[in-house]
């Protein structure tokens, strides 16, 4: 079956200790969010290299979200503080290059915030879907 409307593709990097557990909690509580969201587990949000984000966009992702512990609660004490600086700088640069800023986001989700995780993903997916397909960031060569 050929679907005309392309579903958005969203990559979510979640830190193992807070946000990935928050996503699990959302599952435990059966809090629905779009299946467009695909989660990649990383030990800490500070493991997310800007290259991974650009790579996802290059391969056709429509939105990328990084989730980590709340500042001050990092399992590794300071990892998310570095994430915060790196992503602030990277996202600002993407915006500067004219790339829709709604396609990138950082959200702090604790292990107890299943509801926040689901709400965040619903909201993010909605915003990304509203933007339509990612044209400015994808590398045609890598598309199938």
């Amino acid at each position: 079956m050929q679907v005309n409307e392309k579903k958005p593709l969203i990559v979510a990097f979640c830190c193992n200790w807070c946000s990935y557990a928050g996503a699990d909690l959302a599952g435990n509580n059966r809090l629905a969010y779009p299946a467009d969201v695909k989660i990649i587990r990383v030990p800490c949000s500070c493991r997310v290299n800007p290259m991974f984000i650009l790579r996802a966009f290059q391969r056709g992702a429509d939105g990328v979200i990084i989730c980590g512990c709340h500042p001050g609660d990092c399992h590794y004490t300071s990892g998310n503080y570095f994430t915060r600086r790196r992503m602030a700088m990277l996202f600002s640069m993407l915006d500067y290059l004219g790339i829709e800023k709604e396609r990138t986001r950082v959200e702090w989700v604790s292990a107890a915030e299943g509801a926040k995780f689901a709400a965040t993903m619903n909201d993010f997916a909605e915003k990304v879907a509203a933007l339509g397909e990612n044209k400015r960031l994808e590398d045609l060569r890598c598309k199938k």
């Binding site: 790579r55 700088m89 996202f91 004219g98 400015r136």
Partner: protein
């Protein structure tokens, strides 16, 4: 026009060579064309007298060459550093990239360097000779009989128009007078871009970056790009690339490159100088510098040895990534 003469520099270099203080001199050498000056290592006074040049096209920043050179030798090398070069010099020291003991740094004043693209735009192609005169650059081409005289300010490179500092932040010896850190308008263009709509910005960068031929000159000249192995040459990095094909390929390259040097880039402007396609690459670096200054406090990479780069630092109340845009819009 430079205030210091070639002879003064040769004299300094020759005496240090003769005294045995240094065994080599990193300096500028004439290339194929008048505007084509290349970095070179001089080991004898004769070589200096024959080939050493100093003038309005000697933009090359030698700091980076010290990484490879100091590994090869046990003796000292003399390096001439313009004020902007000294920042790169310090940044490399901060990153332990060369042995300070093996370098004899001579700070030299700089009146700003000429941009060959600007010269060509006025005088035309086919340049056969350029002479620095009191009135300006006298340019002879294949197609004109009398030299075209171009005022210095008309030929000045963008990075020199917006020179951030005439002060040397590192040297063993200083020739000429020490200058000051300057108030420059180097972020004006960044601010102008920020003030555009996202569509305009996208169009701007699409146009500029699609000119990229991935020659890697920007990376190869960059004093912050001294990696033993560049991620773009490394198959396991996930970023190894060859020629650009798609529309995002070169953006990825330039974003990653700018990000890798963010907080470490001293804004020396070499990337834009060497770009054969005249892409304003410095506008990427300056965006990071401007953002860092705005959100994390004023920081000049290389201003002092040992300072902690902003991206390997944090405070507990840093701005949230989502708020960076909003602030940007307020400014716009």
């Amino acid at each position: 026009m430079q205030k210091i003469t070639r002879e003064v520099l040769i004299e300094k270099a020759a005496s240090l060579l003769n005294e045995g203080v240094v065994s080599g001199v990193l300096g500028w050498k004439q290339g194929e064309f008048a505007y084509d000056v290349t970095p070179a290592l001089f080991t004898t006074v004769d070589e200096l007298n024959e080939q050493f040049v100093w003038g309005d096209f000697c933009g090359a920043n030698f700091s980076k060459y010290l990484v490879a050179h100091t590994r090869k030798t046990q003796s000292k090398v003399l390096v001439f550093l313009k004020p902007c070069d000294t920042y790169s010099f310090n940044q490399l020291l901060t990153e332990h990239r060369f042995d300070r003991e093996k370098v004899y740094a001579v700070g030299i004043p700089c009146e700003g360097m000429a941009d060959v693209s600007k010269v060509k735009a006025i005088a035309g192609e086919g340049i056969t000779a350029i002479e620095s005169t009191e009135e300006g650059l006298a340019v002879t081409t294949l197609y004109n009989d009398a030299p075209v005289v171009i005022a210095y300010e008309d030929a000045l490179a963008e990075r020199c128009i917006n020179c951030k500092s005439k002060k040397h932040v590192a040297y063993d010896e200083l020739i000429g007078e020490e200058g000051d850190v300057l108030e420059s308008g180097r972020f004006d263009q960044v601010a102008a871009l920020e003030a555009m709509t996202p569509d305009e910005r996208f169009a701007f960068w699409q146009k500029e970056l699609s000119k990229c031929i991935r020659c890697n000159a920007c990376r190869d000249v960059c004093p912050a790009c001294t990696c033993e192995k560049c991620v773009f040459n490394n198959p396991v990095s996930g970023a190894e690339t060859k020629a650009p094909m798609g529309t995002f390929e070169e953006k990825m390259f330039h974003i990653i490159r700018a990000f890798h040097v963010a907080g470490r880039c001293t804004d020396c402007g070499e990337c834009s100088r060497v770009c054969p396609q005249d892409i304003p690459l410095h506008l990427l670096n300056r965006k990071f510098i401007k953002d860092i200054n705005t959100h994390y406090g004023e920081y000049q990479a290389g201003a002092e040895v040992g300072s902690r780069a902003p991206l390997v630092n944090y405070t507990t109340n840093d701005v949230e990534p989502g708020d960076v845009f909003e602030r940007g819009e307020e400014n716009a």
